[in-house]
Symmetry: C2
Subunit: 220 residues, 2 copies
DNA sequence: GGCCGCCTCCACCCCTGGGTGGATGCCGCC
DNA sequence: GGCGGCATCCACCCAGGGGTGGAGGCGGCC
């Protein structure tokens, strides 16, 4: 038996969810709430398996609720149920630990399926949400530029690479000399070699390459 | 009627897919292939709506097939069907334009559903694949630093922001003056204000903030 | 009107950054 | 051994970056 708490500021939506979920004989409505504050206390009291959570609500929005739950030691699986599907909102919700993200145009049958999936530990995303997630995940690691950057940086000597990374962290030549235990003149020499090999003319462009290559630590 | 081409080096898998998909009266098997080269020519000839594509194959792997399709002007929707679910493989496949990514433990019914979804323009991912995609997408955008950076950059005036972005692209002051149509002295003034507001001392650190904030275009 | 913030520009100064040329010692390879 | 690549350092030079102070015009706000 899957115990579900439903949260939405619209009584009509609550009624609809009650009907949809109540119709399944493996699901029980353990509680309801119409704002964020009430949601947290209801979830804390009922300890449901799954929470269906609206985003736009009075008193406290759904994202804040998501953020508060782990702080309270509550580990319910949450499905965000909203009409908004901006990239930022989706990523924020998932980052805050949402197990599902459904748009409100989801069919009753799909909502029930999503609750079952999430209860079983699987994710549940609307198709358009999945599409946006794919776009976000595939654009983050900018492939061709990254490969090119890695290729170029691989041609640097160890010391040049150390200097390039230090440069990309915004350090000055004297600071680099100190942290890498070499003379300022040596730093300048290496910086010059880096410029030549990366075919750039100033430090900011070095920083771009280093970041494009996905390097941050001083590379063992 | 959804026309499907199935590609797998294992004849048993092909036979299984033939049975599963042939059982649906809205799906036809338009062609089959047992290696990458054959797959490309079959897909080019049959122009199917959906392709079910294995990754590990002789002669040419599935990823290479994915890469070649757009080069040939073919725009079939491809579902990758494999036993491997490493982060890198998933992201690579999706980056190359895969519309679906199913693991081979997917039930026959779910495979049929995935074909229908993909044919309708929706994505189709196995639950564990979705989970990994969420992990990849949520870790890429480093949240707290990004928020801090956005917050600081929001305090810049429009002109200062333009200059900061130009700086972060590695332009020199004269270059910035030219592209933004202002005097070099003005550029210096703005750069100075940016340093003060971002509390940094050189241009590379400005670049870090701008990139952390996820800004690249000159912000209308 | 007066005040304030922003954009624009100027002049002056100093220091770091970046380019050039040269020197030494180390290590591995032919 | 001789050669070449790398790391380390030096001196010199100059252009650009970065700090300071000041000025005028423009628009919104009290």
């Amino acid at each position: 038996m899957i115990r579900v708490v439903i949260v939405d500021d619209d009584p009509l939506v609550l009624a609809g969810l009650r009907m949809i979920l109540g119709g399944s004989n493996d699901i029980t409505i353990a509680g309801e709430a119409t704002d964020g504050h009430a949601a947290i206390s209801t979830i804390a009291r009922e300890k449901p398996d799954v929470v269906l959570l609206d985003i736009r609500m009075p008193r406290m929005d759904g994202i804040s609720v998501l953020r508060r739950l782990p702080e309270r030691g509550i580990s319910a699986r949450v499905i965000v149920l909203t009409t908004f599907d901006t990239d930022e909102l989706i990523l924020t919700a998932l980052k805050q630990g949402a197990a599902g993200y459904l748009l409100k145009d989801t069919s009753p049958g799909d909502i029930v399926n999503a609750v079952r999936r999430v209860a079983a530990g699987e994710p549940a995303l609307s198709p358009t949400v999945t599409t946006q997630l794919i776009a976000a995940a595939t654009k983050s690691t900018d492939d061709s530029r990254r490969r090119a950057a890695r290729h170029l940086i691989a041609r640097l000597t160890d010391r040049e690479r150390d200097v390039a990374i230090a440069v990309s962290q915004g350090l000055t030549n004297p600071e680099i000399a100190q942290t890498l235990h070499m003379g300022i003149a040596t730093v300048k020499t290496h910086v010059g070699s880096v410029f030549a090999k990366l075919e750039v003319t100033n430090r900011v462009q070095v920083a771009r390459y280093v970041h494009d290559a996905g390097i941050s630590a001083p590379s063992g």
